[in-house]
């Protein structure tokens, strides 16, 4: 079993600005995610699938990327990742409200099916693990052209049971491609606990079978995540091949807005997890490191709430797609690339 990496004392040596930026990204995503739940419970948004509890590792990896040069093949919990790379709360609100100007899909896909050409975030559908092969192919194309762009792809531990997960690791490892495989392991495939998904506790142990490094990191420890992300990215960019990074994260919400995890998880377990919220942990760490005081954190929150309120109003005022557009983009239209 791999050792889970932690770094609560900032042995990674991150400067104050980087730490504050990480925290801001995490908080911005959290506030937006909570807003999505509110919109859903108010009946204004039909569906939401959350990333609450997963933010640290997404932010840590997102901060390593060169937006629009590097590539992202995300999965549905990657709200924070999309924001770090350059999408906005308004972009994602337009999506949850199925508005025409939603940059992910123009209101065609369910929320949290991310994609943005401008930022090299490829469009993702609902079948799981398929995007890992796309990331391998993207990195393969970069390799053919001699570019050092990296392709980040992420996945829940549930989808690591799919064949595409193994086929992607195998291909990327065989050709030493610049892929970052990030497993956000929250221990549940909807309601099925990891013990019924796999015989080993650490997905990262599978990396050995493909001859690549496998790293387990505490996904509630933002600094440890940053360090793991930095190392894996440097390795990929240098042409030394892929890394499988597994972040042990908490799913602090039900699987989706249509699920109620109280039906299959003990109350005590859920309450204990709340005490380990990565955002609160990071806030405490930053206070201890004297990087962010409580008043500074409060000011940051107020500013982000203001941005979010404005974005929510704008998204709600935006039009729905017209039914006459439903036949467009089945095949390339004039102007499509």
């Amino acid at each position: 079993m791999a050792v889970t990496k932690t770094d609560t004392k900032n042995e990674a040596g991150l400067d104050a600005e980087t730490l504050r930026s990480m925290y801001r990204h995490m908080l911005r995503s959290r506030l937006l995610d909570e807003r999505m739940w509110v919109l859903n419970r108010q009946g204004r948004a039909p569906f939401w699938i959350s990333g609450i509890g997963h933010e640290a590792v997404q932010v840590a990896f997102g901060m390593q990327l060169k937006p629009g040069y590097d590539w992202v093949a995300p999965y549905y919990r990657d709200l924070a990742l999309t924001l770090v790379v350059g999408m906005t709360p308004k972009d994602q609100l337009l999506s949850v409200l199925a508005r025409a100007d939603d940059p992910n899909s123009g209101g065609r896909q369910m929320p949290a099916h991310y994609g943005c050409r401008r930022l090299n975030i490829i469009s993702t559908g609902s079948p799981v693990a398929t995007q890992l092969l796309h990331a391998a192919g993207i990195a393969f194309a970069s390799r053919i052209r001699g570019e050092d762009a990296v392709a980040l792809t992420s996945i829940g531990e549930g989808a690591t049971s799919e064949g595409d997960f193994h086929e992607a690791l195998n291909f990327a490892a065989t050709h030493r491609l610049g892929v970052l495989f990030v497993v956000e392991n929250n221990g549940f495939a909807i309601s099925v606990p990891w013990q019924k998904q796999m015989p080993i506790p650490d997905v990262a142990d599978r990396a050995e079978a493909y001859g690549i490094p496998g790293v387990v990191v505490d996904g509630g420890d933002a600094i440890a995540c940053f360090r793991a992300a930095r190392e894996a990215t440097a390795r990929a960019r240098a042409g030394d091949g892929p890394t499988l990074v597994e972040a042990k994260v908490l799913r602090l919400t039900s699987h989706s807005s249509d699920d109620d995890q109280r039906r299959y998880r003990p109350k005590e377990e859920l309450e204990a997890e709340k005490e380990r919220d990565p955002l609160a942990r990071f806030s405490t760490t930053l206070e201890e490191l004297k990087v962010l005081s409580p008043p500074d954190a409060e000011e940051m929150r107020a500013e982000l709430v203001l941005e979010l309120d404005r974005a929510t109003d704008e998204a709600e005022a935006a039009p729905l797609p017209d039914a006459s557009t439903a036949m467009l983009h089945v095949y390339a239209e004039p102007g499509d690339s």
Partner: protein, 327 residues
């Protein structure tokens, strides 16, 4: 202009496009040093290097999924599936991903990829080296599905497919590879991906077909010609989209219709052609629409008598045509 086999024509088209456009690359099982199990990619790895003609792991979802990724990142990949029978592990990548990428991203992302696969029977390939499952893909909006029947079209359509901005499934009848020869221009040319063509003109019976079955149909049509019945043989070439105008024009002209395919008939290309004719040509018909295809058994068996039972032959087509002629 030189006489080439169907297989050589496909290779010529790929090679010329690879020389012209360095985004074109091939990924598949045994496509490198061996040149593919049928030899379509022979010599390409030597000319273009390992990266542009890569021997893949034995994993079809990987082949297509990686090709999709490469296409998203600016390449023009060909994913070669060794036999159409083995394409099913990749169906999620083809149907859920490639076919829907443009639509689901509202035009933001496209997948300019060609998936090539040999299909069809009559080569003692038994259940898993003989199938014709193109109808599964012809059902899917967002895909193009083409089946050239002549060397001329094989070259022109592979070039068109490689220049198309959307995923194209390009199916090659494996019996045509060496059996079918024809004139192929040395120069670069394209053939449209969405147009049927008239393989033989006539005005008595319209016969629709594609792939190797076009040649079977032409043989039968020649026999009827000796007796004064002239068949119009329509080579569909594109199964998605079907060339509706061409289908309707020949049916209206002839008034009698036969559809010939190697695949079994239920919920197939023949079903769709028949539906189009029923919708648009009802008042022009002088006989019921007839179809010939494989039987409703899981796939083509190995033993020669069983294989022959499955196959559509010139004799079977001739019998159907004579029944229509007499109607």
């Amino acid at each position: 202009m030189a006489t080439k086999t169907y297989l050589e024509a496909i290779r010529d088209g790929i090679r010329e496009e690879m020389r012209r456009d360095d985004r074109v690359m091939i990924l598949g099982e045994d496509v490198g040093a061996k040149g593919g199990v049928f030899g379509v990619t022979e010599g390409l790895q030597k000319e273009f290097g390992e990266w542009r003609c890569l021997d893949s792991p034995l994993a079809e979802s990987c082949i297509v999924g990686v090709a999709i990724g490469a296409a998203l990142n600016g390449m023009r990949p060909i994913a070669e599936i060794q036999f159409q029978d083995f394409i099913l592990p990749a169906i999620d990548q083809i149907v859920s991903e490639a076919a829907k990428m443009r639509y689901r991203s509202n035009g933001d992302w496209g997948v300019p990829m060609v998936v090539r696969a040999p299909f069809g029977g009559g080569v003692h390939g038994a259940l898993y080296h003989s199938q014709s499952i193109e109808a599964m893909f012809a059902h899917v909006p967002g895909l193009r599905v083409v089946v050239p029947s002549t060397p001329y079209d094989a070259k022109g359509m592979i070039i068109s497919a490689l220049r198309d901005p959307d995923p194209v499934l390009y199916f090659e009848h494996k019996r045509a590879y060496r059996a079918i020869k024809g004139e192929v221009p040395d120069d670069e040319y394209t053939v449209p991906l969405d147009r049927a063509t008239i393989a033989r003109e006539g005005s008595d019976i319209a016969v629709y077909s594609y792939g190797m079955m076009v040649h079977t149909t032409l043989d039968a049509a020649a026999r009827l010609s000796d007796d004064g019945f002239e068949c119009e043989v329509v080579d569909l070439r594109s199964l998605r989209p079907l060339d509706r105008d061409a289908i309707v024009a020949s049916a209206r002209k002839c008034g009698k219709v036969l559809i010939v395919q190697e695949a079994n008939l239920a919920v197939s290309v023949a079903s769709e052609v028949a539906a189009i004719i029923a919708e648009d040509c009802f008042e022009h018909l002088d006989a019921p629409v007839m179809r010939i295809g494989g039987p409703e058994i899981p796939a083509m068996p190995y033993a020669p008598p069983l294989e022959s039972f499955y196959l559509v032959t010139p004799d079977k087509v001739e019998t159907a045509l004579r029944a229509l002629a007499a109607y």
